[in-house]
Amino acid sequence: MNRNLSRVLVLLAVAFSMILPAACAAPAPAPAAPPQVVQQTVVVPQTVAVPVAQTVAVPVPQTVVVQATAAPAAQRKPAKIYLVAHGACSWDAFWCVVEQGNKDAARDLGVDLTIISPPKFDPELTASDIDKALAAKPDGLGVTVTDGAMYQEPMMRAIKSGIPVIAYNSADWRPADKRIPYLTYIGQDEYAGGATAAKRMVALGKGHRGVCVNQDVGHTGLDARCQGFIDTLTKSGLKAQVLAIGNDAAQATKTLGDFYTANRDVDMWLTLGPNGANPFYAFMKNAGLKTGDVIHATFDLSPEISARIKDGTTLLAIDQQPYVQGYMVVQWLSWIVRYSIYPPLDVTATGPGVIDKANVDMVLSLAGKYR
């Protein structure tokens, strides 16, 4: 009886494990609005230099009103674009901003857009998703290349068949002669981002030992962030290491706590996005750590991260402007398909920028949607 009961429980566990993530998934995108003549408010950036690895322009909003005329959909060449991303808004808040950019661009440009992403970080599944997307015969393909070696074969299949391919958010970090020949990479230099965060932490002169908290081990871009962090700290005579946590918030909090129990001297923490930062804040609370007890820096923004920068818990966030990445990948692919306009550079940089206490007010109200 007990044996049967346990098997019934297994069956229920299987069924619910399949259904639950779908139930928790983000709602489907709203249907694209028909193109029309619109009175549009546009934010025109006025550039201000901020201390970053590669100086990146940070916009100061200035509002002007312009007349924008969208071309009627009937006059546009149809563009069926597929994006294969390794993350999704349903389980990583960072991706809500990227997807917002994707959807806004698809609506603005009248693109038939499909985004494919796995239910959890899974490079192997994402690689197979590229092939599944290619079966749909897309006009353009955008891929977040978290592992160049793994994605090489399906991406080369797309490129050889004449489909324009763009990497966004994450690039193939192998040497130029080995990397996948996509048209451009829209994103940030990950290594430089890790190094920038480390330099700012070292400059405080308080830290002794660092840890890079990686929620997506297997993501070569995140590996590069950690490498930049570790190399910089090592050059400064400090020890540093990587801690793998995964994307489950509760488990990640526990892992951080266990690690801290065994390594009390670690006082420089780098998290690699909201899925690392949010469990870190929970861990701080559990461990009784207060603002100033440890130095924390992170990649990317979320409402929680912005609030913690404001209150001083987090020193800074390396900002890669995910909305821009999401918007630009759809924009470039649609321009290529419709007008044969190609990106001129191998890298279309969207970061790394730095958001700290000095400029966080600028992004606070936009966090989670555009920043």
Binding site: R3, N4, S6, R7, V8, V10, L11, A13, V14, A15, F16, S17, M18, I19, P21, A22, A23, A25, A26, A28, A88, S90, T114, I115, I116, S117, P118, P119, K120, F121, D122, P123, E124, A127, S128, D129, D131, K132, A133, L134, A135, A136, K137, D147, A149, M150, Q152, E153, R157, S161, K178, N214, V217, G218, T220, D223, C226, V242, L243, A244
Partner: protein, 355 residues
């Protein structure tokens, strides 16, 4: 009607009954239903045909070589694991460590290759390690009598820990000047077949391995004494024991088979991707159980077929490709799998009641 049938001297009552069975439309239908009910693959086959027809009508580009070859290709690697998991479930046990064993296999293969071990030897080493992992699972289950659900949950975590230690928190790839021929044999792109269509398909040699493994395990289960023992052990352990079947040995062999097939899937995966990360196969266990159950393998053991389990994996792959072509968000896919799982299990339950 029965009362009106004449009882002549030359035709017996049984013969009349048989004649009616063969001529009456309702009886033919009843016989068909009985035959369908007796088949383990009935539910899965019906759902598979319905889904195929649905996607053929509604999903653009579904009836292309690329899409159809994707369905088979992406069912193949995990389909090999399903054969081991399914056979073990028929023997009345679970293996929730297959995802970790898959990754372990990939890492042993990768690290051996990077240490300049010849590819064939590296593959055999990976298979040996995974067979050992299966043996450890089996030994713990039969010697401690702790439910396999718990034992393999624990060993799965332990194997994942080993994988994480081997992976050292980063992605590792293998990029030799010349790709070993073994990679082509294990999971090569079948260009002559693929280039028969434009755009080319995506058939790979992993599908040949998948078909071979299904055929071999089906033969093992249906045509050998060991297969009979597996059914007996999974169906009723006490009865199997009273017939002199060595239950411990049968279970041990089934666990080793499950481990080695997960290992084979690991080397086949690596042969295509040439890159490893510590997340490979994480969470795969429940998908394997789901595919087996969808394919008609009874969760309580003692019943099921390898062809059914393989069809279960094929159905999941078909569903995945279909929703991608229809532009349905991937998040919905898991919900669909859950719904299909419940529908097919209910179908199996109803058919068995009729049987």
């Amino acid at each position: 009607m029965r009362d009106q049938a004449p009882h002549s001297g030359s035709i017996t009552q049984e013969e009349q009954l048989l004649a009616r069975l063969f001529t009456s439309p309702t009886s033919v239908l009843a016989r068909l239903r009985l035959r369908v009910a007796a088949s383990h693959e009935a539910s899965i086959s019906i759902v598979l045909v319905i889904l195929f027809a649905f996607f053929a009508i509604r999903a653009p580009n579904f009836l292309t070589m690329y899409a159809l070859s994707n369905v088979l290709t992406f069912a193949s690697v995990y389909g090999i694991i399903v054969c081991g998991v399914g056979l073990l479930m028929i023997a009345g046990e679970f293996d929730l460590s297959v995802g970790s064993v898959l990754a372990l296999s990939g890492y042993v293969f990768l690290l051996s290759l990077r240490a300049d071990v010849p590819p064939l030897l590296a593959m055999l080493l990976a298979l040996a390690v995974c067979s050992l992992a299966g043996f450890v699972n089996g030994l713990l289950v039969v010697s401690t009598r702790i439910p396999s659900f718990i034992v393999t949950l624990g060993t799965g975590l332990a194997f994942r820990g080993i994988v994480r230690a081997l992976g050292q928190g980063r992605t590792t790839s293998y990029a030799p000047q010349v790709k070993p021929i073994l990679f082509e044999i294990l999971n090569g792109y079948l260009a002559p077949i693929n280039q028969l269509s434009d755009p080319a398909g995506n058939f790979r040699s992993s599908s040949i391995w998948f078909i071979c493994v299904v055929a071999l395990t089906a033969f093992l289960l249906m045509r050998t004494r060991f297969g009979n023992w597996v059914f007996a052990v999974g169906g009723n352990q006490d009865a199997a024991l009273s017939q002199g079947i060595n239950i411990r040995r049968v279970k041990l062999v089934a666990f080793v088979l499950s481990g080695s097939l997960a290992g084979l899937a690991g080397v086949i995966t690596f042969a295509q991707r040439s890159s490893m990360n510590t997340l490979l196969g994480e969470g795969l266990e429940l998908t394997m159980v789901a595919a087996s159950v969808i394919g008609g393998v009874r969760l309580t053991g003692g019943s099921g077929t390898m062809v059914g389990a393989a069809l279960g994996m094929l159905l999941l792959s078909l569903l995945n490709q279909g929703v991608v072509l229809m532009g349905v968000p991937n998040d919905v896919f898991q919900g669909l799998v859950g719904a299909v799982l419940i529908v097919v299990v209910l179908g199996n339950y109803r058919l068995r009641q009729e049987e």
